[in-house]
Symmetry: C2
Subunit: 500 residues, 2 copies
Amino acid sequence: MNMQKSLDRIRELTGEIYDLKAAVALLEWDQEVYMPCNAAEGRARQMATLASLLHEKEISAEYAGLIESLNPESFPEDSAERHLVLKLQKNLARNRRISASLAGRLAGQAAKTQSAWMEAKASADFSRVEKDLKELIDLKKEYASLFPEAACPYDALLDDYEEGMTSASLDRIFEPVRRELPDILKEILARPQPDDSFVKENIYSGEDQMKFCRDVVSAMGYDWSCGRIDFTEHPFTTNFGLYDVRITTKILEKVPLSCIFTCIHECGHALYEQNICKDFDRTPLADGASLGFHESQSRLWENLVGRSAEFWHAFYPVLKKYFPKQLEGISEKAFLRAVNNVNPGGMIRTESDEVSYNLHILLRYDLERALFNEGLSVRDLPGCWNEKMKEYLGVRPANDSEGILQDVHWFCGLFGYFPTYALGNFIGAAMMEKIDRDHPEFRQEISRGNLAPLKNYLSEKLYCLGAMYSPAETWRRICGDEALSSRSFLCYLKQKYLAD
Amino acid sequence: MNMQKSLDRIRELTGEIYDLKAAVALLEWDQEVYMPCNAAEGRARQMATLASLLHEKEISAEYAGLIESLNPESFPEDSAERHLVLKLQKNLARNRRISASLAGRLAGQAAKTQSAWMEAKASADFSRVEKDLKELIDLKKEYASLFPEAACPYDALLDDYEEGMTSASLDRIFEPVRRELPDILKEILARPQPDDSFVKENIYSGEDQMKFCRDVVSAMGYDWSCGRIDFTEHPFTTNFGLYDVRITTKILEKVPLSCIFTCIHECGHALYEQNICKDFDRTPLADGASLGFHESQSRLWENLVGRSAEFWHAFYPVLKKYFPKQLEGISEKAFLRAVNNVNPGGMIRTESDEVSYNLHILLRYDLERALFNEGLSVRDLPGCWNEKMKEYLGVRPANDSEGILQDVHWFCGLFGYFPTYALGNFIGAAMMEKIDRDHPEFRQEISRGNLAPLKNYLSEKLYCLGAMYSPAETWRRICGDEALSSRSFLCYLKQKYLAD
């Protein structure tokens, strides 16, 4: 078979794999959004059946043979074809290292541990999930050992979420955060704190919250003909191909900022996916450059745009139109201060402000690295968690439920995932620093409610690339030769919170 | 492999097939209910990929070999196992007769014809779809020819929707309808017609319509933990396994009866599926006995219960509670008469009353039988349609849009399907006649708003059986030795509309 024929057949088979992935994603979306409660067991079986079909297809002899038969270098440099073949070869190599037995044991133990976690969290008792978590971690260690080329077990895990990232790099990136952030936080808290009671004690109707959120998301450039918003307990963005990118959110009637910033955050993810080059649809290139890059866009829109003075100059009047009574007598400035309230006393990462947030991540990074590289025992985890909370954030969880049990990630086997959240913050700040330097006019447009110039810039520079390039190469193309770091992010915080 | 082991493996593979079918059904449901418009092309491809995977699995060598290796008679008489094996063998035999080439051409031509139909309907011009329809019919003839044991080509098609049904039987069943119904209709229309302007001209808020519909559907025994209601242009019932049976409906603010009877109708289908023996889940036994039996339940609930005096005695006060102004001064009796208004002047089957309805079906039956058995040409179809409308219903469509183009069925290849709608009416009436005789107390309970005795009876006698028995055997078990006929149905109409 000649090269073009092989590639055509690979595209066909890859398309089928991505159609199946879309069906799995729809089963998951529906489970979170609309599925009636008693359908859960059947749904789990449907997803398991499709997942195993998917795995079969991904390692089928024909598919694997075709992928291996191609030489990426025979395609033009920097062509989508070359990048596609490289990506397929990398994925295939990874899939092949993992035996069906280990994959099955990992999936099974993850499901079991997640169930145990739900009970443990409900009863605020880590000991109920300790044994399962230990077994899951042992399986993840076995998994990590399949990648002996990694400098340490934790690096093998990291690479799954952030290709090429290592704990050495993370240590370097985190170092200034670790050194400076606790002091920045203290200094902010030493100042008078804003009153934000009006966005915590009044009732804001869900219907009007959503009207405002739809206005904002539309202004961001969300393409409603290729997406929609629904409601879930834990908001997320998903896609069933590049023409169907959906957001979910959650309404708290007394806390309107929750739904607003959730919508902006998820829309940031969605803008990324909706603007990937459509030629990449149904291939592994139809994705973000990495989880870090994906999160950089949700956080850029949520914090660097959505919590800015310019943004609320344009949108506070719109919000007041929907909630004239609730916001009566609240000036734009007072509102902006409430939106940027810093409160490290909250124990929960997902509810934390943009200053405290990365300390929550740092804590998790320290602990998961210690688990995989330094033999920290699972039994000692809750104690270490609580000590680190005290050290980084000055507070101590009252129980395991608001401590180590707050996030599901570890209990379904996601180790090495948390750092990508922090990387998202750092990448987003670096991009915005460059944008403010190169295009100061964007901020003026934002203050007029025109978000299109920023969105178009991001689409052209980042979104349209999809997963064509590695995270490192994507970074280089956008931010140049300066190494990825937390510098811009720390500058941003100091500038915003401590300048005046 | 011994028998039990073979059966276990068959169950496993069948379960996977039904998981895939559930995923396909979810893709379809989402397409009708929530999918954003630009996702259509991708969704079609996803469904095509899953359909072809499904076909592969259904005729895989392992699966086929196992199914053929079993002797149904080695399982206890009347056991679910024996019926399952029989059904699987029948399905396999059918699937094997159809070449991949014919299946592909049929699916392709059906999709093409359906597209052409949409354009033809929009412009009320049959000639735009004539050629495609002719090709589709030729393919259906080729398909019918694969079943030479059928007495005529049309019988081969019928069997797909109503196992064992023949045009000879249908002719016998339809004969009294053909003879008596036009006169019954004339006699009804000679009487003074009720005023139903209050359910056609006032505004009934969609929200309150749905509150009422939820009350009714709950009273019918719809299990909300295994289902939900959403909104679509063309309402339907679907399931993703027996624990997830969903209804859709449609709201017209000026025509509240539309949504109410749609909900009752679809809930009739849903009750059937929700009450199939749960052991049958993920097998072909988890279905109605036939399309006719399925429709018998939607129509039994919609018409024989939902348009009865007893039903509205209980539910009219509930409806008035939601719409006090719109129904001010309208007595229960006046409302009941409005609910049973007969209006054959409507050209549209789906909007027709229960008296006219079967004449719409008879017309379609005559024409499709003539197409397949008697060489009626596609070119002559619209003219024949219009003549038959005049003959059966006394009206003539103004154009093809409200004539031959009104239903999608033929244009996506469903020939032999329409008669099951009439059979549903006849089976439902026969069942209700028996129920009224054996359990006169059910009507009293209905007039108190207690629909449970009827629902429990139907569950026990029919729903729980699923597709275990053939339609003929199912009929025999419920209605005894009297042959399936339209007798009870015609009695019901005469009793209801002409008795006083």
